[in-house]
């Protein structure tokens, strides 16, 4: 059978068409499969990305790190070289950028610059990237909790893309929601951690505070215990300090009742009693001083002071004590000093006597050196350096406390109530300074006192004198030189007249006395007319009938060249000028020490070339000869002590009478007399109280009623 050729083409064509359709279908199916596979793969990758991002976000504590990771993961999943992800942050209300490492900072910096800043940019930061980034970083264009992939570069086409297909947008939106939840949980966790940290901090702080409080309480308790112990020790010490001289007083007083005693023995016993009494008084003075400072009753009286002289005077005063122990006492001026500076000389002297005295007291061999210098123009620094036993580090703070000594054993062997340094430091602080200490146990100590001073602009600064030494003392001081001349001592207080006369007579002077200015004027004029004039007059300035100011003015009119030395219990600033304005040649403030009086007398005496005993600035060999020379100070005072006591007794009666009669003028007058004599006879606390009473009485001030009984009580205790 034969085939019909005409049928075949039709079949073939149909078959071909069918085949083509099949092939197309297959191709389409394959494409669909490919698309499906791609989508599945993409979806899988996306899920992996999501899972990875979730894991990473969860492991990051800060959103920025999570966003940067997201940007990297997106680029990877979308097959881009890199991608920038902008996250619409609903918390900060500002889009946050996730970007590959380093790109973020660069883009943020670039975004802040004008577009054509002329900056050399790399390709991926040029044109479209930067524009897209700037566009996306506008917060209004990025919805909250959404992610916008700003731009990405395809490695295949090297073109920049933004993500435009809906699937990706939908996925990114879902991812944004997940991310928001993750961020929320991260933030929550962070909040919790912050809260926990804060609580921990609070607990730690509270614990520390509690520990500090416990420590404070412990140290307060220890301080209280220590204070109680110190006071107990102080009382024990005081008891010892008081009982020892009291035993001497009572014992020798009993011995004096023996009528058979010779004059020399009686004198010796009386001297012992007096010495013991003075020691007791110094203890009381210390205690009163401390009490006055602590109650704020002590005032500072800055007056023009020649610190050079004050230092050398102190050296002269204390060289005897140093010499007694075979110690050198040197004074040096390390810098130039103004010839005069305003400072409370009395308080400064008190501080230095304490420090230098202490150094001498505790140093057994070697040297005590005092070095003065100025710091700038308003601070005076004085170092007291000794080669004593030093003070242990743990005692160094304590020794400035009242009732403390470096070593309780020291108080037994060296005496003292342990108040001196406490007083000295308080005084130094009162003078605008302080006392510091450096000490090396077994080697020595340095006490450095600084005080505030005022120096006049036109003050003369004297260059630092050379180191004083034995061969060339800076200012030789003659204590027992014979002085010649006729002297008139004018004072309304008999005891002062007697004391000054006694000292001057012993120095070799011919002394006459007057009890007020009028009498002095008459005597001076008469002596001048008789061609037998006085060589000098020591004139008290406050006296009845005619005071020293008036008397001086009148004497000047008759005998212009006669040296008149003002003696006054005033030590207020300006008193010296008042005296000099009245015509006085010089000025001495009470209490007046014997060396000062003799030095002044020598200065104005006719002959001053009598052999003088020079008090050396270095310690002389151990000898008591020179001590005896200075002992005359005590001798004169001691001789007149009974008179002083008797006078004070009278003053008490007069004062009580004036108090009852509310006679403030009389009270002021009596207080003035007490002020001068008490200071001279070693009762500074009475003198200070008397000065206060005088001041209040003159002002007729109400606090007088409070202070007057104090003065009376102190006077009664003294007698």
């Amino acid at each position: 059978m034969a085939r019909d050729d005409n049928d075949m083409p039709d079949d073939v064509a149909t078959l071909q068409a069918l085949l083509q359709d099949k092939i197309k279908l297959l191709i389409q199916r394959e494409r669909d499969v490919h698309t499906l596979v791609r989508r599945v793969n993409e979806s899988n990758r996306w899920m992996q990305v999501v899972a990875e991002i979730s894991a990473r976000v969860g492991s990051y504590h800060d959103e920025q790190a999570a966003l940067d990771t997201l940007a990297e993961a997106l680029a990877e999943s979308l097959g881009f070289e890199y991608a920038l992800a902008v996250w619409g942050d609903r918390v900060s209300e500002c889009p946050s950028l996730g970007a590959p490492n380093g790109l973020r900072e660069l883009l943020i910096g670039l975004a802040a610059q004008p577009y054509d800043a002329g900056v050399q940019l790399q390709t991926w930061t040029t044109g479209p990237v930067r524009m897209a980034f700037r566009f996306a970083m506008q917060s209004t264009l990025v919805p909250h909790e959404s992610i916008v992939v700003v731009v990405a570069r395809s490695p295949r086409t090297a073109e920049y893309h933004t993500i435009a297909d809906e699937t990706t947008h939908a996925r990114l939106a879902r991812l944004g929601e997940q991310l928001a939840q993750s961020f929320d949980s991260v933030r929550l966790r962070r909040e919790v951690m912050r809260e926990r940290d804060s609580l921990q901090d609070a607990v730690i702080a509270a614990t520390l505070e509690l520990r500090a409080a416990v420590r404070d309480a412990e140290s307060a308790r220890a301080a209280a215990v220590h204070a109680a112990t110190a006071r107990t020790e102080f009382l024990a010490n005081m008891s010892h300090e008081i009982r020892t001289p009291m035993t001497a007083v009572l014992g020798y007083a009993a011995l004096l009742q023996d009528a058979d005693l010779g004059l020399a023995t009686r004198r010796e016993y009386l001297e012992t009693i007096t010495r013991s009494g003075r020691h007791l008084l110094s203890l009381l003075d210390d205690i009163l001083n401390l009490a006055r400072i602590e109650s704020g009753h002590l005032t500072v009286n800055a007056e023009p002071t020649a610190v050079h002289s004050l230092m050398l005077e102190l050296q002269a005063l204390l060289a005897v004590k140093a010499a007694e122990k075979g110690l050198e006492l040197t004074v040096r001026f390390a810098t130039s000093l103004p010839s005069m500076m305003h400072v409370d000389a009395a308080r400064l002297r008190q501080i230095l006597i304490n420090l230098i005295g202490n150094s001498i007291k505790f140093t057994e061999r070697g040297r005590v050196a005092v070095v003065a210098s100025m710091i700038g123009t308003d601070r005076l620094k004085i170092e007291v350096i000794d080669t004593g036993p030093g003070i242990a580090a743990d005692k160094q703070k304590l020794i400035f406390e009242a009732f403390e000594q470096g070593n309780q054993g020291m108080s037994r062997s060296h005496g003292g109530a342990g108040l001196g340094l406490a007083i000295a430091r308080k005084l130094a602080r009162l003078l605008g300074g302080d006392i510091a200490m450096y000490s090396q146990l077994g080697h020595g100590s340095i006490f450095t006192v600084t005080v505030g001073v005022a120096v006049d602009a036109d003050a003369i600064w004297t260059a630092a004198p050379r180191v004083t030494n034995e061969n060339e003392p800076a200012m030789p001081i003659a204590l027992n030189a014979l002085v010649q001349g006729r002297v008139l001592v004018v004072d309304d207080t008999p005891i002062n007249r007697n004391l000054f006369s006694s000292i001057l007579v012993r120095a070799g002077l011919n002394v006459r006395e007057a009890c007020n200015g009028k009498e002095a004027l008459e005597m001076v004029v008469a002596a001048a007319q008789a061609d037998h004039p006085f060589d000098m007059v020591f004139m008290d300035m406050q006296m009845p009938v005619m005071d020293g100011y008036e008397a001086t003015r009148r004497i000047r009119a008759t005998v212009p060249a006669l040296p008149i030395i003002a003696l006054t219990a005033h030590s207020m600033a300006g008193d010296r000028e008042r005296c000099l304005d009245a015509g006085c040649t010089e000025y001495l403030a009470k209490p007046i020490e014997r060396p000062e009086l003799i030095r002044m007398a020598r200065r104005f005496s006719r002959t001053t070339d009598a052999p003088a005993v020079i008090l050396p600035f270095r310690a002389p060999p151990r000898s008591t000869d020179r001590l005896k020379a200075n002992a005359a100070v005590d001798e004169s005072v001691l001789e007149l002590m009974p008179t002083f006591i008797a006078t004070l007794r009278e003053n008490i009666v007069e004062l009580e009478r004036a108090q009852q009669g509310h006679d403030v003028n009389e009270i002021a007058s009596i207080a003035h007399r007490i002020k001068g004599t008490a200071a001279t006879f070693g009762y500074p606390s009475i003198s200070d109280l008397a000065a206060e009473v005088e001041r209040l009485a003159k002002a007729d001030a109400s606090p007088l009623a409070n202070v007057l009984p104090d003065l009376l009580r102190e006077c009664r205790r003294a007698v």
Binding site: S336, R367, V368, A369, D386, T387, H443, A463, R466, N471
Partner: protein
């Protein structure tokens, strides 16, 4: 002239780390300090300076202490460069001491010099010697300080800049008035002692002659109309930002003024480099128009110069009663340049020319002061030696 208590001196050194022991050892070696009128002290900055001074004050109560920190010291044949050392010279006898100091040098240097002179008072009529120590790190013009002192009558000054170890500059210290200062200057006048002094510089000129064309105080701004730092680096073949700090071997030499007897150039070593202004900062000025030449320190120049200086001193001391030799040797001469055995060799070589058993104390200074001609001059790389003699 022989006096009742002729001036005497003794020296001591200690390298103990414990300050108390160091002080005790140095002072004991210096005779204990009895009757002392002055203590010159040099110490390493490794010691607590305040503690050191307090210990010295206790060991020598009331004795003025002057001097300062130093890179090192030499005491009678011993040369030491260490973090912790103490060298002292204790003077006693008929010597009057005047001391003045400024706590802070950072103001008008000439006025400071005048103030120091005023504090010292008028210069003594008789024999005297003036010594100076100062802080070099505050970058001040020391020459003007010397001019200020000269205004006050103190023409011939010997001394040195206080120092620290040869390392990064941190701080130096000066001692005066029982205190330690960090930026101060101390002047001491010793009445009753006359100086017999010589100096040697130890550097040789190299390179071409140059001219300083612009300067601002102690800063050289331009040399031959070009930035001074560039010229400096070009001459030495270094790069400003990389290794200019390694040029401490070199200095600028200046031709001394006409009539000045001197063995070569005055030397000024750059103390700092101002990279911003491309300038050289010195401790004393080089005036505009000055001819300068780069100098380099060499061992032959150091040893040769020291030998020659010793011979000159030997001749000058004939018939004199020498009391104490004070050396102010530049800190650039010992380690890392000489140092150790070589530094001691130089010192022994010099001591051999001095009277036997003459106490000697020297510091390694960061700037030296000694008169050249009639005026006090600032130097670098030098070694002035001042022998204090009875008049």
């Amino acid at each position: 002239m022989t006096t009742a208590h002729p001036p005497q001196a003794a020296v001591g050194i200690s390298t103990r780390a414990d300050i108390r022991k160091a002080v005790a050892e140095a002072v004991n070696r210096a005779g204990g300090g009895a009757d002392a009128v002055l203590c010159i002290a040099y110490a390493g900055v490794g010691h607590d300076q305040n503690e050191l001074l307090n210990q010295l004050k206790i060991a020598l109560p009331g004795v003025p202490i002057v001097g300062g920190s130093s890179q090192g010291a030499c005491v009678s044949g011993t040369s030491i460069e260490a973090e912790r050392f103490l060298a002292v010279a204790v003077l006693s006898g008929d010597v009057k001491v005047r001391i003045a100091h400024v706590a802070d040098m950072r103001s008008d240097e000439r006025k400071l010099g005048q103030a120091l002179a005023a504090n010292l008072g008028p210069p003594p009529q008789g024999a005297h010697t003036t010594l100076l120590w100062y802080d070099p790190l505050c970058g001040r013009n020391v020459k003007d300080l010397l001019v200020g002192l000269s205004d006050g009558g103190y023409d011939a000054v010997y001394g040195g800049a206080t120092g620290q170890p040869w390392d990064r500059m941190v701080a130096t210290f000066q001692y005066a008035d029982g205190q330690v200062y960090g930026q101060g200057a101390v002047v001491v006048v010793l009445e009753g002692l006359t100086p017999v002094a010589e100096l040697t510089h130890g550097a040789e000129a190299i390179g071409v002659a140059l001219t300083v064309t612009k300067a601002d105080g102690n800063t050289v701004l331009e040399i031959d109309d070009r930035p001074a730092l560039d010229v400096w680096c070009e001459q030495l073949g270094v790069l400003p930002e990389r290794n200019v700090e390694m040029t401490s071997n070199w200095a600028l030499g200046i031709v001394p003024p006409t009539g000045t007897t001197y063995e070569g150039f005055f030397t000024r070593a750059p103390f700092a480099f101002d990279l911003e202004r491309r300038a050289l900062v010195l401790q004393a000025p080089i005036p505009c128009g000055s001819r300068v030449q780069v100098c380099i320190r060499t061992q032959s120049a150091v040893f040769g110069g020291a030998e020659a200086m010793g011979q000159r001193l030997q001749a000058a001391l004939v018939g004199k009663q020498a009391v104490l030799a004070l050396g102010f040797e530049c800190g650039a001469r010992p380690a890392p340049f000489l140092g150790g055995e070589l530094a001691e060799r130089e010192m022994r070589q010099l001591e051999a020319k001095l009277p036997p058993a003459l106490p000697l104390i020297g510091m390694y200074a960061w700037g030296e002061i000694a008169p050249a001609g009639d005026v006090s001059e600032f130097h670098n790389f030098t070694f002035p030696m001042c022998v204090l003699c009875q008049p």
